[in-house]
């Protein structure tokens, strides 16, 4: 059972998808219930992972499964090789945790063609989980592309007015990046074969990361990987698909997009781009940090000027993910662990924000800030939860956002990225400005618009959606150690491995320089 826990978890949604497809089209409630049950079962399957103490003090891959998948003579070996360590553990759990919440949130929001919607959601879950657990680059690529298709349809069919444009833009941006990555993957594969990595290892990341790829090649390969991941993060200036996709997507789509899909980009950097190409990472760090800081400030400034709540949250994502990138490239324990924790935090709090936007949109069919005001008087429970989530997003002490951002900033400040940190910190202040200002305009003051006077407060179902998220906001805020202690060993190991390689590369470079000097002098 535990031998195949990850596979069971990853492919169980497909079973769910098949079941959903055979349900009668009109049985709207039944389809939603079945999907909810399936997502809850998947969450329960994955739950033991979170309580497994094996991750404490061990940086190794756990729950690994290995099977030969495609073997073609002496050409190719693709393996079904999966496993998780402290880095992917919480992302996997975040995914299985967010899914039931998402399904629950669609109860009244999705009325048209529910069957297709739920089937696509489940397909998407397989894609996301598969991408997080893949230890074989080819397998990862397959899951990575598999995620595109359901999301494309979710935005395009159930989205808002501009959905077609947003869906195509989302698809094209992501696909272009990943196609270039594909060429790089093939190149690395042949390099590994030439370097004598046993053929049976296929596209195994662990083996690829032990290669000594020459620096000039690393630059190109890293660029191809980074481009693909940067689009997904999204980093400035390839972030433009995000506001469109977020604004047009249905609430469930936005939640998944924000909570999980965006993490694919940052996860890709940590799992693939950095360990595979450590020397290039070193070279690109200032550049990526600069883009991250631009993203932080730019995202915040643009968010401030939005009159649509959903767009505001979308741009805030650009800003938040900038922090994550900064933390990762600080390349020390605080920074990277903070970055990973902040990925989880962003998933929880931005997911929650999109749900909140969904709630008020369902009630009023508008998302313009100007249409609201004084809601806290009409909907006190809603106001409380909204406030908690807002604080979490701003990063107030006691909430999860604070821990993540603090670790990132400390880590970055102690690294070579000190100067960037100074600018990034303004992002924290700006976040407070745009979030609190929005909160004030929507929730505080008098009820100016008569349409808002009779809004219903949160229903039991909506509360059930929000409370688990609130729980984790405080859990991570007060006792982040539950999460950090399991991710630290893996992060530590990764950093050491990368640093060592960078160190060797620098020594070689210095040596070469001194040798040339000696030759010149003589």
């Amino acid at each position: 059972m535990t031998d195949h826990l990850l596979s069971l978890m990853t492919f169980f949604p497909l079973v769910g998808m098949l079941v959903v497809l055979f349900l009668p089209r009109e049985a709207d409630r039944l389809i939603k219930s079945v999907t909810l049950i399936f997502t809850i079962i998947i969450f329960l399957i994955s739950l033991p992972l979170g309580f497994d103490d094996a991750f404490i003090g061990s940086s190794a891959m756990h729950y690994t499964e290995f099977a030969k998948w495609i073997s073609i003579g002496k050409y190719f070996q693709m393996n079904y090789y999966v496993g998780i360590d402290g880095i992917s553990l919480w992302l996997v759990l975040l995914t299985t945790f967010i899914m039931p919440i998402t399904v629950l949130s669609t109860w009244h929001a999705v009325e048209r063609n529910t069957k297709g919607f739920m089937a696509l959601l489940l397909l998407l879950e397989t894609g996301m989980l598969g991408a997080f657990i893949s230890l074989d680059l080819f397998l990862f690529y397959v899951f990575w592309e598999l995620m595109l298709v359901p999301m494309y349809f979710l935005i395009g069919i159930w989205g808002g007015k501009n959905r077609v444009y947003a869906a195509i833009k989302f698809f094209l941006f992501t696909a272009v990046g990943s196609l270039l990555m594909l060429v790089a993957i093939i190149y690395v594969y042949y390099f590994s074969i030439k370097a004598g990595v046993p053929f049976e290892n296929g596209f195994s990341v662990a083996h690829f990361s032990q290669l000594d790829i020459p620096a000039h090649l690393q630059t190109w390969l890293f660029a191809a990987f980074a481009f693909s991941f940067a689009i997904k993060v999204p980093m400035f200036p390839v972030h433009t698909w995000l506001p469109d996709a977020h604004t047009e997507a249905p609430t469930a789509g936005s939640v998944i997009l924000a909570a999980i899909l965006l993490k694919m980009g940052t996860y890709g950097f940590i799992r693939f781009a950095i360990p595979l190409f450590p020397v290039a990472t070193m070279k690109f760090t200032p550049f990526l940090a600069l883009l991250a800081v631009i993203g932080i400030i730019y995202g915040a400034l643009v968010a401030m000027m939005q009159d649509d709540v959903k767009k505001l949250v979308a741009y805030s994502s650009v800003s938040h993910l900038g922090f994550v990138m900064l933390g990762i490239f600080a390349m020390n324990l605080q920074g990277m662990s903070g970055g990973i924790l902040q990925m989880i935090n962003h998933g929880i709090s931005t997911g929650a924000l999109f749900l909140i936007v969904g709630f008020i949109y369902e009630r009023r069919h508008t998302r313009l800030i100007a249409d609201f005001g004084g809601l806290s008087k009409v909907m006190p429970v809603f106001a409380t939860i909204f406030m908690i989530v807002t604080f979490s997003s701003v990063g107030l002490p006691g909430t999860n956002g604070f821990v993540g951002e603090f670790l990132i900033l400390v880590g970055a400040f102690e690294s070579e990225l000190r100067i960037f940190t100074v600018f990034a910190t303004t992002g924290v202040i700006l976040a407070a400005v745009y979030m609190l200002w929005m909160f004030q305009r929507v929730m505080m003051g008098k009820v100016t618009n008569p349409k808002n006077e009779n809004l219903k407060d949160l229903s039991a179902r909506e509360l059930a959606v929000m409370l688990p998220l609130v729980l984790f906001i405080f859990w991570i805020g007060f006792y982040p150690n539950t999460f950090l202690e399991k991710m630290n060993p893996s992060v530590d190991n990764l950093i050491n491995q990368v640093k060592e390689k960078q160190h060797v590369a620098m020594m070689v470079e210095n040596l070469e320089q001194s040798v040339t000097k000696v030759i010149v002098n003589e």
Binding site: Y75, R163, I168, F171, V183
Partner: protein, 487 residues
């Protein structure tokens, strides 16, 4: 003395080398005879007899696997290479025949001669793949092409179909002239029409490239094949012919004959001109890039889905050419694999187009696809699968095929070619996605009816879907076979 000559001749005859195509031809001729005795308008029997013919032929092809047969003074070689391609042609023909019956009746041409024509064209394609002599290849090409000229203009009452037939015939004949001239020049230089002998001669006389006759021969020969492959800049006929021809025939032409042209082209290049590889790969590099770009860019602006698929088939020929440029084992077996994959995904897509519209007013515009996914959920999903496969998304056959071809290019050091290739398939995403935009993101339009789904068409769609996923998820077996098939 006469007796002696006959004996010598007979010794070289090896019927096993042409057994599969012989069987297919016999079935075709038998079918023609049967048709005489049956009243006009009955076609159902022809469908099933043709299918039996294809299955039996397929059986003979498969029993010959791993046991190459050479015959007719080395003019024919039924080796693994030919066998693999034969299977592609048989699948192409089978899927085409299955989708044709109701369509022909609907369009008012329930003529059973249609089926023997497809069988003969398939037999011709098989000779092209198994030919190891210029003459055999030419013979196969002509048998195949003449059947296709007829089939393209099969709807003699429709102007577009007539135009397609005539255009294909004129340009096809013209290109065949080039091909034949090229063959003649090569014969003039080397004194042989046998591929291996030409290869040995050219290899031994390395300076022959300076000879304008060799050069002109190679170029003319290539032009002839590139025309059949529909590579840019010899692609001009493709959109008109593909759009005008009956839809099943378009499907067939885009898969079977194209694969046949690749089979013969690849064999000739590899057998005859292996000593000149750097030269012809350089030439094909340029053409591959040009073909991919022309096909993809023009496909973007198409509003007719059939025409869009025609242009996209040009682009797909470009991807396959990338495999030829790579000129290594993986690139070549990638071509074989890709041709099989393309057969499934493209014919599958055409099978859905077959269901569009009523007699004489085929409506294949994008508008016609509005809300298609809701009106016909099964067909919508099928079309989406084929389109995703054509885009090259995993886990479909199209992805696996492109992966091997581009991997071949990377391995051979053509990184830029691989990058241009993947960027081109990024361009192609746009126009394939647009079909899906109409299918799923628009409300159904009422004014345009799709005919009901006949069982035979359903079978061909299901086979195509199975093919797409089988080749996509577990490509190992077939790729292994493709590897054994290349030289």
């Amino acid at each position: 003395m006469d007796n002696n000559l006959v004996q010598i001749a007979l010794q070289n005859v090896n019927m096993a080398a042409i057994l599969p195509s012989l069987v297919l031809t016999c079935f075709g001729m038998g079918l023609l005879l049967i048709n005489v005795f049956l009243p006009r308008g009955t076609t159902r029997h022809a469908v099933w007899i043709s299918m039996i013919a294809l299955v039996v032929t397929g059986f003979f092809v498969m029993t010959g696997w791993g046991n190459p047969q050479y015959g007719f003074n080395d003019a024919v070689a039924m080796d693994n290479y030919a066998a693999f391609f034969s299977i592609i042609f048989l699948f192409a023909a089978g899927l085409t025949i299955l989708m044709s019956d109701d369509y022909l009746t609907r369009e008012g041409y329930p003529v059973s001669e249609y089926y023997p024509m497809i069988l003969f064209a398939t037999a011709g394609a098989m000779w092209m793949a198994s030919g190891t002599d210029m003459m055999t290849i030419f013979l196969g090409l002509e048998v195949m092409s003449i059947c296709l000229y007829v089939l393209a203009g099969f709807f003699r009452g429709q102007v577009k179909s007539n135009e397609a037939g005539l255009k294909y015939f004129l340009l096809g004949a013209f290109s065949t002239g080039f091909l034949l001239y090229g063959m003649a020049l090569i014969y003039g230089v080397t004194g042989s029409t046998k591929l291996t002998e030409i290869g040995i001669y050219l290899n031994a006389h390395g300076s022959l490239l300076d000879n304008p006759m060799t050069l002109a021969g190679i170029v003319l020969l290539s032009i002839g094949f590139l025309f059949k492959i529909a590579a840019a800049p010899f692609h001009m006929w493709t959109p008109d012919v593909y759009e005008g021809a009956p839809t099943p025939i378009t499907a067939f032409m885009s898969a079977g004959p194209k694969a046949a042209a690749f089979a013969a082209f690849l064999r000739i290049m590899e057998y005859c001109f292996f000593s000149l590889k750097p030269e012809w790969t350089a030439m094909l590099w340029v053409l591959a890039v040009l073909t991919m770009i022309v096909g993809n860019v023009i496909a973007i602006s198409q509003t007719n889905v059939k025409r869009m698929l025609a242009y996209s088939s040009i682009a797909h020929a470009g991807y396959a050419l990338v495999g030829m440029v790579a000129a290594n084992e993986i690139g070549y077996s990638g071509i074989l694999f890709y041709m099989l994959a393309y057969t499934f995904m493209n014919i599958g897509a055409f099978a859905i187009l077959v269901l569009a519209g009523k007699k004489g007013e085929e409506n294949l515009t994008l508008e016609g696809f509005s809300g298609f996914g809701y009106k016909r959920p099964f067909l919508g999903v099928a079309m989406a699968i084929f389109l995703f496969s054509l885009m090259g998304l995993p886990p479909t056959a199209g992805f696996a095929g492109k992966f091997y071809i581009f991997a071949g290019a990377v391995k051979a050091g053509y990184i830029w070619l691989a990058i241009i290739g993947v960027l081109n398939s990024a361009v192609s995403l746009y126009y394939y996605l647009r079909v899906m935009v109409y299918m799923y993101f628009r409300d159904p339009s009422e004014d345009f009816a799709w005919v009901s789904l006949p069982a035979t068409v359903a079978i061909s769609i299901v086979i195509a879907i199975i093919g797409v996923f089988y080749l996509g998820i577990v490509p190992g077996d077939v790729m292994e076979l493709a590897k054994l098939a290349v030289f």
